[in-house]
Symmetry: C2
Subunit: 239 residues, 2 copies
């Protein structure tokens, strides 16, 4: 197998309690982009409905750190926009809406190719993190639109559950998060699921995978739940 | 438009805090079945993986009330089983898994027809309630399997959000339930959404729709959220 040149920063969410938008991830984002001499981010706002407003909010958060942010919707051809970009940031919102728009605009395959050949950096948050994985089977979002598939960009060979909460808040009100993930793991095609707590960041660098940010993660496998703190090396998940 | 002869009992869930399985709905279920001289229920356990165990649990709860319960999986031909049944009960679990199995077994259309022509009573709980509505766009479940469509049996021309909780428990941990429902309502094809609190039962009788059980419901429409208590007549939702 040829080694992938992928580089990605996968955030559980854009918001983290007590921090302003994306602030908890500032150091990681800056060093990720600076290390690769990238000064411009192509933002994909497809997970929400108002592209201009959403892009403006991200620009307001990241702009002051010294980066230019442009929305992919401002280009006449989104495929060309990807081809001309050095780094992409896919924001959160509704995962089904996001994946549908990525397929509608023929972006799934080209993003996968360009990230794997090392010519595009990938940053995602929440729904933008979900679509970077094998499939969206473990999103928390409501299925408000029918995408052509639940298969996603597949930059990593496992699934993520963003906004993971390690408590049974939903008792007497439907199933708990752990029960829902367990239901997925019973499917014959299930792959491991990494539950990223809010504030957790997954740093993918070729075949290295490190948990960064201000909160850790839980790995769900059949009959097994393992906690990994910030700093943990979980590169084995890429095999 | 020809009047539908549909009769359905749609439960938010099988469990309700402080009650044993289905006990909160006992009076409604018994009067619904007795009024129609029905003594046998065909149970559809497709929303969960272990059909025998699930059917046994339902049999244990409902059997003592004087009804026979058989699992649809014990018949060689599920379509024949529906054709020979007077009442069907579709239990909860995962809505995507349930809808996929209903389509795989060609049951969506035949259940719709038979309930509408008055030859089959419909009872559903949680996922079994979701699939009775227009679509599963407003389920809380994880998309663990890809169904051929999100369109459902469509016995009523609106959507339901079961296990509805009227509080913002998910602050700082992803979106709240109300935000998720609002995202759906922004879609061009969105229909009204009835959030059924745990313990709430929707009684459909031809063109009459009454909220029963031990808890009420909230109706979500664009920019509008209205509370309806137990006993409320919401028949206008059938128009």
């Amino acid at each position: 197998m040829q080694q992938s040149c992928r580089q990605a920063l996968l955030l559980s969410s854009s918001n983290c309690h007590t921090y302003s938008l994306l602030e908890f991830a500032k150091n990681e984002i800056c060093s990720f982009l600076n290390r690769n001499d990238v000064k411009t981010l192509l933002f994909i706002p497809y997970a929400q409905n108002n592209y201009d407003t959403y892009t403006a909010r991200i620009k307001e958060a990241i702009g002051p750190w010294g980066y230019e942010v442009t929305g992919i919707h401002t280009y006449s051809n989104p495929v060309d926009a990807i081809n001309n970009a050095k780094a992409v940031f896919i924001g959160g919102g509704n995962t089904f809406l996001l994946l549908k728009k990525l397929y509608d605009n023929n972006l799934v395959e080209i993003i996968r190719q360009k990230v794997n050949d090392g010519s595009l950096l990938y940053m995602g948050s929440s729904a933008g993190t979900n679509v970077a994985t094998k499939s969206i089977h473990t999103t928390n979002d409501m299925p408000i639109i029918y995408p052509p598939s639940f298969d996603a960009i597949n930059l990593v060979p496992f699934n993520i559950n963003p906004h993971y909460i390690d408590m049974n808040m939903e008792t007497h009100m439907g199933e708990t998060r752990d029960q829902r993930i367990k239901e997925y793991l019973e499917m014959p095609y299930a792959c491991p699921v990494l539950g990223l707590k809010e504030g957790s960041i997954l740093h993918v660098n070729k075949n290295s995978l490190i948990i960064k940010g201000v909160a850790g993660a839980f790995l769900f496998q059949k009959e097994k739940k393992t906690e990994y703190p910030v700093g943990a090396d979980v590169s084995f998940l890429l095999n």
